[in-house]
Amino acid sequence: MTIDIVKHNKVWLIISVAVASLAAAALIVWGIRFGIDFRGGSILDYRIEGEQEQIREELNSMLSEAQVSVSQVTLSEGNTYSMFVEPLSEEKRREIETKIESTFQSAERLSVETIGPSVGEELKRQAILAVIVSNIVVILFLAFTFRKVPLPAHGWEFGVAAVIAMLYDVVVVLGVFAVLGEFLGIEIDSLFVTAVLTVMGFSIHDSIVVFDRIRENLRRRGGEDFKATINKSLIETLARSMNLSASVLIVLLSLLLIGGDSIRWFIFALFIGLLSGSYSSVFVASQVLVWWEGVKEKYGL
């Protein structure tokens, strides 16, 4: 094999930093559009047959007549209208439902959801807590499993590199959803939190497989330097990484295309995250490791 992935270490790192910065910028400029799971609110889903624009306008005026503040009314496949509004009281909700059902003959209620505003804060707090705790646990876990890794690397350095790659993936997914929120009005819900947590898990999973090969090769390297060993390991695991990504993406793609509306954005988040996760094990996690060892060598640490 003549490919040298490690030689362009700086290039990969710069590309990765650039991608992460773009995602972070989108996140800062536009922010994530939080769904009602986080900020409270009601969603009413109705299937109504007929002239779409007209129905949408009528729904809008009906809601403003009822003095309900509307954030949006969207239309998705199968003539399904989703009304995103402020949290409705039981009475208000019934009033609106009766009105819709009497105005449109064909109106068929699909689902309604009301979430009080107090719940969201708890959900956010829990999600953040879960992320922090799992980061710490992952670093500890890797420090432990890689404790016998031969020098110059240390087990905990593998942990930190894996976590950096994981944070990279999370930022990318969040950035993509900031863009989607800004331009398509996509809101994130509690399933999205699940997706992000899954992406984190996968990212670590993937990095560990690569690291494991690095560990194995470090143990039996004969005179090869650290960089060459890492490069060898990356090349050796590349086929596996690509085959795995392809396998998982096949399943996700079929879910994305025919899995229906309710899980579409959830699957999309997974899709982006897993793509990014496969990339980041090779081009973030391993490159951080190489760069780190380079810095250590340079300053004689």
Binding site: D45, E90, R94, E108, R109, L110, S111, V112, E113, T114, I115, G116, S118, V119, E122, R125, Q126, A130, V133, S134, V137, V138, F141, L142, T145, S190, L191, V193, T194, L197, G201, F202, I204, H205, D206, I208, V209, D212, R213, E216, E236, R240, N243, L244, S247, V248, I250, V251, L252, S254, L255, L257, I258, G259, G260, D261, S262, I263, I267, L270
Partner: protein, 434 residues
């Protein structure tokens, strides 16, 4: 083999219904329930209501008790709806004390049911009609007309839940064995109850909660001998649990704590069925494509991977039925993701094998080496996924929990099938071919 029997679906083809073997019969009814996959509300349709309990002015230690008492009152009400498999449980999230009610299926009158959940329960005292009246009633009884036994045998009174101050389970005062329920009335209520009891001596008083009689004590002939008293006891050898549960119901005339609806989701069964059908179809197509991809990548070994994958899926479904796991959309997602993880184990082994073959080893040797060399990375990567699952389960909300459980089960079974099935298949296969 066992998984095939458990997984056997009920299939209807052109009017002929094929049932799986009747597991209840085979196991001599040792199974306490049918082995079916339980679907979550998002897949079968239904209503989810979260009620937040107002804990203001209630001390930390008492909160859980109050919440449990409220839960049992609400559970009683839900049971009266006659909804099968309704769930009522409590959930404490930080400072939020909640009671979650899950009503599966199409809620024809779900709006009324929610009203009933919120309202303060209606506690009434009815006095039994004199014997002669009910005899007459039975004489010209018209069998076609259904009469509520309550109105048939009892008269309503003006004593209600608001007259009752409190109720508690106390030790039997005379024998010291067993328990009794002591009712304490308000001043006003005591007068009213006395009038009622004195006119019902020797007959029963029905205590009615939301239209359902929960206790029908007989008024003793010596009632009122001790003068007008605010305290009344229902005697009889109650067990401690029975007495306490009755006392809770009596106190529950008003809910122990005020509640308000903070969250409500209704999914119509048609939408749920649609979501289920779509994600199952998508999953099926995904798995078939995946299996084809495996064969494309690894030829004959791909067939081994496919065999392992099929057994993996069957084992998973069997476990879902046994534990049982309530399947939700998030759970389906977790399962599908775990399929990917399970496939990864196979890919790691086969890639390793191809590598060993490239290094000049024989197929047999390579097959043997591949597993041992791939194992550490399979173990470590799955180990970290499993740990993530535990963290998610511990910190997550219900949908995250569902995801974490199905992923964890998937990872464990994936490890199991990688160790047993893929390894054995591979060795047998390689041996027989050389």
């Amino acid at each position: 083999m066992l998984t095939l029997i458990i997984d056997w679906p009920t299939v209807t083809i052109y009017g002929t219904t094929l049932h799986g073997p009747d597991l209840e019969q085979i196991t001599n009814n040792q199974l306490t329930r049918r082995l079916d996959i339980i679907l979550g509300l998002d897949l079968q349709g239904g209503t989810y209501v979260a009620l937040k309990g107002d804990m203001e002015g209630i001390s930390e230690e008492e909160r859980q008790d109050k919440l449990d008492a409220t839960r049992s009152v609400i559970k009683n009400r839900v049971d009266q709806f006659g909804v099968s498999e309704a769930n009522v449980y409590t959930s404490v999230l930080g400072d939020e004390h909640r009671i979650i009610v899950e009503l599966p299926g199409a809620g024809e009158n779900v709006e009324e049911q929610i009203d009933i959940l919120r309202q303060t329960a209606n506690l009434e005292f009815w006095s039994e009609k004199p014997f002669e009246e009910t005899i007459n009633l039975q004489a010209d009884n018209q069998p076609q007309v259904f009469q509520d036994p309550l109105t048939q045998y009892f008269n309503p009174s003006d004593v209600s839940g608001s007259d009752l101050k409190t109720a508690s389970a106390v030790r039997d005062s005379t024998t010291g064995e067993g328990y009794e329920i002591q009712l304490e009335f308000t001043n006003d209520g005591a007068d009213k109850f006395n009038t009622l009891a004195l006119s019902t001596i020797g007959r029963r008083i029905a205590i009615v909660l939301d239209g359902i009689p929960i206790s029908q004590p007989v008024v003793n002939s010596d009632y009122g001998q001790g003068g007008n008293d605010k305290f009344v006891r229902i005697t009889g050898s109650f067990s401690r649990e029975a007495a306490e549960s009755l006392a809770i119901q009596l106190r529950g005339g008003a809910l122990p704590i005020p509640v308000e609806i903070v969250e409500q989701r209704t999914v119509e069964p048609t939408l749920g069925a649609d979501a289920l059908a779509k994600s199952l179809l998508a999953g099926l197509i995904g798995v078939v494509l995946l299996m084809a991809f495996m064969v494309y990548l690894y030829r004959e070994y791909g067939i081994i991977a496919d065999g392992a994958l099929l057994i993996y899926i069957l084992l998973n479904i069997a476990l879902y039925k046994f534990i049982p796991i309530t399947l939700t959309l998030a759970g389906v997602a977790g399962f599908i993701f775990s399929v990917g993880v399970a496939v990864d184990a196979n890919i790691l082994i086969f890639e390793r094998m191809l590598e060993e073959i490239r290094d000049g080893r024989s197929k047999l040797k390579a097959a043997k080496l591949a597993f041992d060399k791939a194992w550490p990375s399979i173990r470590d990567s799955n180990g970290s996924t499993l740990m993530t699952c535990f963290i998610l389960f511990y910190f997550g909300t219900s949908s995250v929990k569902a995801f974490a459980i199905s992923l964890a089960i998937g990872v464990i079974i994936g490890l199991f099938t990688a160790v047993t099935i893929t390894r054995n298949f591979m060795q047998t296969f390689s041996t027989s071919r050389t």
